[in-house]
Amino acid sequence: MNILIIGNSAAGTAAVEAIRTRDRQSSIVQLTDELHPLYSRCLLSYYLAGTISRERLQYREMDFHERMRVQLHTGKRAVELDTNRQHVVCDDGSDYLFDKLLIATGSSAKLPGNIPAGIQGVCVLRTLDDVETIREHVRYARCAVVLGGGLIGMKAACALRECGLETKVVVRSKRVLSQMIDDGASQIIGRRLLENRIEVLTETDISEIRSQDHRLVGVETDQGQVIPCELLILAKGVHPNTELIQDTDIRKRQGIETDPYMQTSHENIFAAGDVAEAFDITTEEHAINALWTCAVQQGRIAGLNIIGEQEAYDGAVGMNSLDICNSPLISYGITSPKDGSRYQMLVYEQPANNVYKKIVLKDHRIKGIILLGRIDNAGVLLSLIQRKADVSAFEHELLDDRFNFAKLVGYGDASVLEQYRQW
């Protein structure tokens, strides 16, 4: 069988590993439009901050593709897909036939419409090349502005601060990490950021760019404030790389639609990762969860089904973990529901110790969690979300720091003991 994988990142790599656990025979060709060998995108901010070397971005051994018997073709951008002939053409004219195709093309940084292209110092943070460009500007820059307060924006801001730059974050919403946490947690984070001299301007947008000789010298906000800066990072979210399927009959909404086997509407074509929509356990809708863990899990499922192992995906849970200004923060699912009346919230806070915990329940099932400062046993709570467990018997204990695996055993959950015995 000829397997073609487009994408050499979280999802594509997980698919390769899954395929090779059971199938050493099939030919695997992997394409990427980047020039670099495999690296972890999530580590880019650590490399920018100087906490890790460029070599440590590699999250598998140097000879990974060789050992996995994969032909990796770098610097090739797939531009055409013929679903009938099962044929892909690249920008350099080379072409590939496949029996099974995995589209794991990920996503790209969104570019706000009002910001002109081609100005030195205006950057995005998505690829290794992006980081090398940012590093060049960091050499001479004194001040940086980050537009967007999501996961990538915050990671970028913290990294630039570590590089010694004066750093400001401009966010349109009322708080940073608005998808991930609620007001309570963001107050603590906001204070931690300030202590680390990262200033956050909320309910603000950038209205204009100031430049001299095509070099950035400052930004103007819609509040009329002018911020001199030599570096601007655009972190307004990502959009899925679906161009390849534009003229095909493969179904997509925002991302490529998939079934529980990560199969698209075409039986020999699969999709996984940031480019794919999959069922979300907490929202009970199909959506993109542009996250590493989801990409790996989906890539694994796609890989197994490509070789005919019928394994279904349980569904995604949006989840994030980061260490922000030395405070560990983990969140899952729906953390500040829009229609609060249908949900029940449990909160525990110790602002003086930078601790904040929240559980969001609906019909006695956990739909979302925030853990700031105390994250031990976080995964035990996640398992309750994933199993859609009725938690009424121990609701009052969920926020206790000692809530752990044995608690579930004590409450007579037989399935957890089964889990303990297996490995």
Partner: protein, 161 residues
Amino acid sequence: MKQIFCHIEKCLGCKSCELACAVEHSLSKQLVAAMREPVVPKQRIRVELIDEHGTLSRYRTLALQCRHCGNALCVQACISGGIRKDEDSGEVRINPEKCVGCWSCVMVCPFGALVRHEGIHRAMKCDHCPDRETPACVDACPTKALVYLEKDGVRTRDVVL
């Protein structure tokens, strides 16, 4: 691969395993010297309370550590390649040279067996004591509640309540 199991009926909750584990993972591997090390050694096994009615009227204890899962979620969640499954032994291992302390593994472990080592800002968990024949916790258990068994040697009644 062998795995550590706990006979819940025999576990007294004495925490000898926790102490032995911390000492084994110290630089000196000696209790008194270990306590004086600059980075205080931490245990990778934890005695947890199985409280049947949430009232402590009837409880038992379970000494819990990494289960070295087949389809390990921590390996999938790891963003740095710092947690990998050893292809030969099947053990799940942390490489402290690669771990960046993002706690993605803590986020997904259904046993809560991965914890932060704040002293070195790395994730840590049971490693089956690579320098020993039998893990230190098993040797230290006074009631032989902790056993180190080959997968096929495990009968359900060895590990059920």
